[in-house]
Amino acid sequence: MNIHGILAIYRFEMARTRRTLMQSIISPVLSTSLYFIVFGTAIGSRMGEIDGIEYGAYIIPGLLMLSLLSESISNASFGIFFPKFSGTIYEVLSAPVSPLEVVIGYVGAAATKSVMIGTLILLTARIFVDYSLDHPLWVITFLLLTSITFSMFGFIIGIWADDFQKLQLIPLMVITPLTFLGGAFYSITMLPEPWQSLSLFNPVVYLISGLRWAFYGAADVNLGVSLSMTLLFLFLCLSGTWWIFRTGYKLKQ
């Protein structure tokens, strides 16, 4: 194992985060706070409870998930896209680092950043909304799993994308709508058929549901199902990454 190599990549990426602190950490936390103010305090007070949970508190897991997904993806995808774009990727390709080590370095750094953002969002949310965590360990588990999985997904997008537009395509066109439709702001049981059944094809439903269960002990789908689905995504992203390095897809001519 080339520990120095992993650390070099990890530190490099974390230094980038530090340089762009405003854009990479502060801004997602601020924009999520806006949701808490508008939906949690202003509108939330006029809404009824869902599953016995106050509306302001009910939307926290969904909003947290929204930030985690988009931040993990954009971070990790940019982290690997940029060296490809600028040509500095040659150095990583010629270095004695295994694919696994490259992924640990890049994805590890992106996931670390996501976890930092997630934690900050949870802390800020406490200012606006009163909530408590039923299963803190599960919250941490889902936070970690989601950050890692979607950082890896971002890594794959970063390798696939050959221009800046493609880089933003998936987060904007896929992840954001899926999150909004995935029960971030409502329980999917409130939807009429066929939308309720269709929602079950939305992978984000399981992520949000799992996290909401960890928060409040109540969710749209069973914990086991949520967890299995999350692990399935992790496995899919792992396979994708493995395949990329095995074939040299878009990395080597």
Binding site: A8, R11, A15, Y90, G248
Partner: protein, 308 residues
């Protein structure tokens, strides 16, 4: 086995269908400076990129220090340093950070003393805290070299290290390359400045349209292919070359003052002694004799010349 790099039947066809390398066979000897010459698009960068693991080869086998570059990529790659042709560096990192990054990436524990001496040697020490984007092109080139040397490689690839570099820095680099060789580093460089190869290289390889058309010891190459000529400055001008000198195939200059004799330096009897004797017999007095060898550049042009 003395070769540090064995390239066997290596071919590369890009996805576009372009055959960039055709069955390259090449042995690089331990501790030598090898210059790879060839016109634009000949395949030099492709060959280097394959050895360094940046481009996948279509066929063939490569051993570095006796080890397969795929199966034992970790050992092999930590031996190799690469200064690529393109100046692709990070922009916002400091010089110090980017060089330390490279060292770590190649699996070496941090060594501030070594990096410090490296930066000093490359006259980068004053710039260690500058962001790379604020450096000039020549300075960036030095940073690339520092990165390539950060992990103390045994084999160094320099892909056109002196393109766009001023005379002073070029001299510095040549000096540095010689010092590295003294420390036992094997150096493979490509260049378009033939004088550079002439100045530095122990051996020369010429590649043309993906084929290695020649590999030779530099001095032998220059002896063998380089034509020698002897110029005889006469005391008094001639109208024509005298008949008894006809067998020497001499050429006479416009002004009739200079006779030029071409000869094969490899040949045991160059014919010079005989020529001088004949000149004496003809009563032709001369005031000066000059012998000149054609440069590597002329050899190179005659090899690849117009056949791109």
């Amino acid at each position: 086995m003395n070769s540090i790099l064995s390239i066997r039947d290596v071919s590369k066809t890009y996805a576009s269908g372009h055959a960039a390398l055709k069955q390259i066979n090449l042995e690089i000897e331990r501790g030598e400076i090898f210059a790879l010459l060839g016109p634009n698009g000949a395949g030099k960068t492709t060959l280097i990129s394959i050895i360094c693991g940046i481009v996948t080869r279509s066929a063939g086998e490569i051993l570095a220090d006796g080890r397969d570059i795929d199966r034992e990529y970790r050992d092999v790659r930590s031996l190799i340093g690469l200064v690529p042709q393109e100046l692709s560096t990070d922009a916002f990192e400091s010089v110090w950070d980017t060089v330390c990054f490279s060292r770590g990436l190649f699996g070496k524990a941090p060594n501030t003393a070594y990096i410090e001496s490296l930066l000093k040697q490359l006259s980068l020490w004053e710039k260690r805290n500058s962001r790379i984007l604020a450096l000039s092109g020549g300075m960036k080139r030095r940073v690339m070299i520092a990165k390539a040397l950060s992990h103390e490689p045994k084999i160094l690839f320099l892909d056109e290290p002196t393109a766009g570099v001023d005379v002073e820095l070029r001299r510095d680099m040549w000096q540095m390359v010689r010092e590295l060789r003294e420390q036992g580093v094997t150096i493979i460089l490509t260049t378009h400045y033939i004088e550079e190869a002439e100045e530095m290289a122990d051996r020369i390889g010429v590649i043309r349209r993906g084929e290695l058309i020649l590999v030779e010891d530099k001095n032998e190459l220059m002896n063998k292919l380089g034509r020698k000529e002897l110029r005889v400055q006469l005391q008094s001008p001639l109208e024509v070359v005298p008949e008894p000198l006809a067998e020497f195939n001499l050429s006479l200059s416009e002004d009739g003052q200079t006779l030029t004799y071409h000869f094969d330096a490899q040949h045991e009897h160059t014919g010079i002694a005989e020529l001088i004797r004949r000149l004496g017999q003809q009563g032709l007095d001369f005031k000066d004799l000059q012998s000149r060898q054609s440069s590597l550049e002329e050899i190179f042009v005659s090899l690849v010349g117009d056949q791109r």
